[in-house]
Symmetry: C2
Subunit: 206 residues, 2 copies
Amino acid sequence: MDKAEHSGKLFIISGPSGAGKGTICQRLVEESKVEISVSMTTRNPRPGEIDGKSYYFTEREDFLTEIEKGGFLEYAEVYGNFYGTPREKVIEKLSNGVDVVLEIDIQGALKVKEAYPNGIFIFILPPSMAELRKRITGRGSETEEAINLRLSQTLKEVSYIDKYDYCVVNGDLEEAVARVKAIVMAEHSRVSQSIYKLIEKYKEEV
Amino acid sequence: MDKAEHSGKLFIISGPSGAGKGTICQRLVEESKVEISVSMTTRNPRPGEIDGKSYYFTEREDFLTEIEKGGFLEYAEVYGNFYGTPREKVIEKLSNGVDVVLEIDIQGALKVKEAYPNGIFIFILPPSMAELRKRITGRGSETEEAINLRLSQTLKEVSYIDKYDYCVVNGDLEEAVARVKAIVMAEHSRVSQSIYKLIEKYKEEV
């Protein structure tokens, strides 16, 4: 548990596949002063991927050592490769006053919540299941059966929404991006430690 | 206590005199879909003031009856006149899905918090006591002694900030207005009853 209040904030952007969390994260990084959390992975780099930017590429053995040291806010094994969010890298940014955004599926987000309850958890929702079906079908890579499985999986995932602070329906992308940016701005106006410092300064002035 | 969750939200904009809460409220009403809460008063209308718009003007006797019926979210007597926030008028707007903004001093805000804990409480702060002194002095209506009294009063008031959800430092007005607008937008993205309705709709679709 990391209870220290850092000056930067951790925003977890999560939601079912197809809700558009990736696009929203990208826009947020481009348009707000937030930095994306880079994951660590044991899989091999693909052409064009840059170490430290796309991922931190690492050996399986080192990854397992990091797990034992509690070095990840969350990690998962997918098709034999490990992926994780390196705790130290995130904390370092937050300590330097940098906001960090983490794009992650619902399972991962729930783990991050245990490791870093001070995070701000945002659930991205599709406007409807019909629209989600359309988006997944549009990618053209899945069978009807696989799509149906995905949709019922989504229904299960959505039931975790009460673990989140905010939810943003991504029907219109611009609207959704504006909402997420507003959440980032509003969270910086929360009554917090930093405001007590300002009040101390007031007292010196009177 | 009003525990019902209304679709509109009540934003309480409060802070010491001179912090600029009035200007911020006015801008919010002009630029966002929020309506100002109109106070009820027993004082006589001044030239140009419109009943139901500037204030609801009422007789002292009727005001006292309203107090007994619990008809105010808060009220106060100032220089022999009563001023109050009519509960029914506010609840009616909220029930119709209209956001309501209430500009009020700190004492009043604390009373509103008891009567309507679901409200969103925003504290407007001056950037410094030096700046606050300058603003009050600029109005030219108060003696040095009165100003000093006001400033030490402000220090006391500021200690109630932990009863608030948000605080916005009003150094640059545009920045402060943008922050308050972001808070309004973000609060509408909170995980709430309305999102569960959307999820119910998903279920019907799958």
